[in-house]
C-alpha cells in the first residue's frame, strides 16, 4: 500500500495482478488465442478501456514511462484521465513521446513512429471475438478457433468483394496471427494492420467487458485476411496533413467552418508535432 495514495501499487490487488499475469504469459505462448481472465471492476466505465487498464496495471513498474493515446491523440479526456490514473496509483512517469515510452496504452491506433524492442503496446479492446458478427454463439466460435475453421470469415470477405469490388472493412480488419489464429486487431484502422506484422514490440490486448486477454509476441507474422486476386490494401485519405504535410500518416478529417470547409490532419498528434518542430527548427 502506498502511503501517498492509499492505493495498492498499480491499483489492482496482488491476487488480481497474479491472475492477469498468468493469463498474459499463456497469451504470449499461444499468439492470437483469447485467454479468459476474471476481470475486475475498475473506477472507470467500460469503453474507457478497463481491459487495457487492467493489463497495464499488471505489467507496469516504477521504472516504466507510460504513454496513453486515444485515436492517436495524447490530449483527449480519456487519454489524460488514464495517464493521471497511473501517475497517481503507480507513481510512474508519463510521456507523450512514442520514442520515450516503455508502455503505450492505446485505443484505436498504432503510433506512426516505429516501435522498438523493449516497448509494450497495450490495446484497449471492446470486442475480442473477430467472429462475433458472423456467429453470436460463444461455444461455436470457440470450436471454430479450436479447428482453425475460418470459412465463415472468408465467405463474408468474398461477399464484400462481390458486392463492392473490395473488402468493405475500414476498421477492425481481421488478421491471422502466426498462421494459426484469427484475431481482432481492435478497432484500429485497417491502415494500421501492417504495423502489427513482425513488430519488434510486444503487443498485448485487454478486453474488460468480455474478460479476454490476447497477445502478439515480437516479430510474429500478422496477416490481414485477403485473396490472391484481391490482396489487402491499407487505405488512407489521398491528401497531405494540413499541419505537417505528411503523406504517409493516417489522417483525420476535420471540419473547419460552417460552410463545410474541411482539412486533413495527422491522427497521431505526437508524430505530427514532432514533424512540425523539426520543420520549424530547419527554417
Amino acid at each position: 500500500m502506498s502511503a501517498a495514495t492509499g492505493y495498492n501499487f498499480g491499483y489492482l490487488d496482488e491476487d488480481t495482478k497474479r491472475m492477469i499475469r498468468r493469463a498474459l504469459l499463456k497469451a504470449v505462448a499461444i499468439p492470437g488465442h483469447q485467454v479468459p481472465f476474471g476481470s475486475r471492476e475498475m473506477p472507470l466505465p467500460y469503453g474507457w478501456g478497463t481491459g487495457g487498464i487492467q493489463v497495464t496495471a499488471s505489467v507496469i513498474g516504477p521504472a516504466d514511462r507510460l504513454k496513453v493515446i486515444d485515436q492517436g491523440a495524447d490530449d483527449t479526456t480519456n487519454a489524460v484521465s488514464i495517464r493521471r490514473f497511473f501517475a497517481r496509483v503507480a507513481g510512474v512517469e508519463t510521456t507523450e513521446r512514442t520514442a520515450e515510452a516503455s508502455i503505450i496504452q492505446t485505443r484505436h491506433r498504432i503510433p506512426e513512429t516505429t516501435l522498438r524492442e523493449g516497448q509494450i503496446l497495450v490495446y484497449q479492446v471492446p470486442m475480442p471475438e473477430p467472429l462475433f458478427r458472423l456467429e453470436p454463439r460463444v461455444a461455436e466460435t470457440k470450436r471454430m478457433h479450436a479447428l482453425a475453421d475460418y470459412g465463415l470469415m472468408h465467405v463474408k470477405l468474398y461477399e464484400d468483394i462481390a458486392r463492392h469490388g473490395h473488402v468493405a472493412i475500414s476498421y477492425n480488419y481481421p488478421v491471422m496471427v502466426n498462421g494459426r489464429y484469427l484475431m481482432s486487431p481492435s478497432p484500429i484502422p485497417a491502415f494500421d494492420n501492417p504495423k502489427m506484422h513482425r513488430n519488434p514490440a510486444l503487443q498485448l490486448f485487454g478486453a474488460g467487458r468480455e474478460k479476454r486477454i490476447y497477445a502478439v509476441p515480437p516479430y510474429t507474422e500478422v496477416r490481414s485476411l485477403d485473396f490472391e486476386d484481391h490482396p489487402f490494401e491499407p487505405v488512407r485519405a489521398r491528401a497531405g496533413c494540413a499541419l505537417c504535410g505528411s503523406r504517409e500518416s493516417y489522417l483525420d478529417e476535420v471540419v473547419t467552418d460552417d460552410a463545410g470547409g474541411r482539412i486533413f490532419v495527422c491522427s497521431d498528434t505526437d508524430y505530427c508535432q514532432g514533424r512540425q518542430a523539426r520543420q520549424e527548427a530547419a527554417e
Binding site: 498499480g10 495482478k17 504469459l25 504470449v28 505489467v59 479450436a146 509476441p217
Partner: protein, 196 residues
C-alpha cells in the same frame, strides 16, 4: 525443527509487490523473446535446492488457484505453501506449475490444455546448471527476429525429442522456464529448436 517452521524463516520477497512486478516483467520478456536470458533482480530467500529465479517465479505466479508440483523436498514444499499459498499437486499431470530441481518430468505427462482451451496447460519451471546466450541451440519462432542462440547445461539427453513432440502439439502444449541461479530464459510451446 519441523520443515514448516523452518520454511517460514526463509523469507519470501523482501518487497513483495515491487519484487513480484520486476520478476513478472523478466518472465514476460523471457516468454516474449525465447532464449534471451533475463536476471531476477531481487529473488527471495528460499530453502535449497531452490534457486533464486525459480523461487521468484513461483512466488510471482502461483497462488491458491494453482496447484504446484515440486520435487525439491518437504522444506521447499512448506516454503511454497507458506509464501505462495498454493496447494501441492499429488501428481505432475495435475499441476498448473511444476518446479523441478531434479530429473525433468516427461513433458508428455503434463497438462497440455484442450483444443479449445490450450491455455489451461502446465508451466514447467526447470532448474538447470547453466544458461549461455550466443551459442548452443538455434531458436526460431514467434518472438525471434531471425535466430536466438541458447546453450543449456544440465538437460536430460532426450530433451530435444521431447521438446519437438511438445512443439508439434501446438496450440496445445507445455511452456518452459529454464532457471540457473538468478537467471532465467523461457521456451514457449511455439519455439523451434535446432541443434547448434
Amino acid at each position: 525443527m519441523m520443515p514448516a517452521m523452518r520454511a517460514t524463516l526463509a523469507a519470501g520477497f523482501a518487497e513483495p509487490v515491487l519484487d513480484a512486478q520486476a520478476c513478472f516483467r523478466a518472465a514476460l520478456e523471457a516468454m516474449a523473446r525465447p532464449g534471451r536470458v533475463q536476471r531476477v533482480a531481487a529473488p527471495p530467500e528460499a530453502p535449497p535446492p531452490l534457486g533464486g529465479a525459480a523461487a521468484a517465479l513461483l512466488l510471482t505466479l502461483a497462488d491458491a488457484d494453482t496447484p504446484v508440483w515440486l520435487d525439491a523436498g518437504p522444506e521447499a514444499e512448506a516454503w511454497a505453501r507458506f509464501h505462495a499459498g498454493c496447494p501441492i499437486a499429488a501428481a505432475p499431470g495435475e499441476a498448473a506449475f511444476l518446479l523441478a530441481a531434479g530429473p525433468m518430468p516427461p513433458l508428455a505427462s503434463l497438462a497440455a490444455g484442450s483444443e479449445e482451451e490450450p491455455h489451461r496447460s502446465a508451466t514447467l519451471i526447470l532448474q538447470v546448471a547453466a544458461l549461455a546466450e550466443g551459442e548452443g541451440w538455434r531458436l526460431s519462432g514467434p518472438g525471434i527476429e531471425r535466430e536466438h542462440r541458447l546453450r543449456v547445461e544440465g538437460l536430460p539427453p532426450g530433451f530435444a525429442a521431447d521438446w519437438a513432440a511438445n512443439q508439434a502439439r501446438f496450440p496445445q502444449g507445455v511452456d518452459l522456464f529454464l532457471c540457473a541461479g538468478d537467471r532465467l530464459a523461457a521456451l514457449p510451446r511455439t519455439t523451434h529448436l535446432a541443434a547448434g
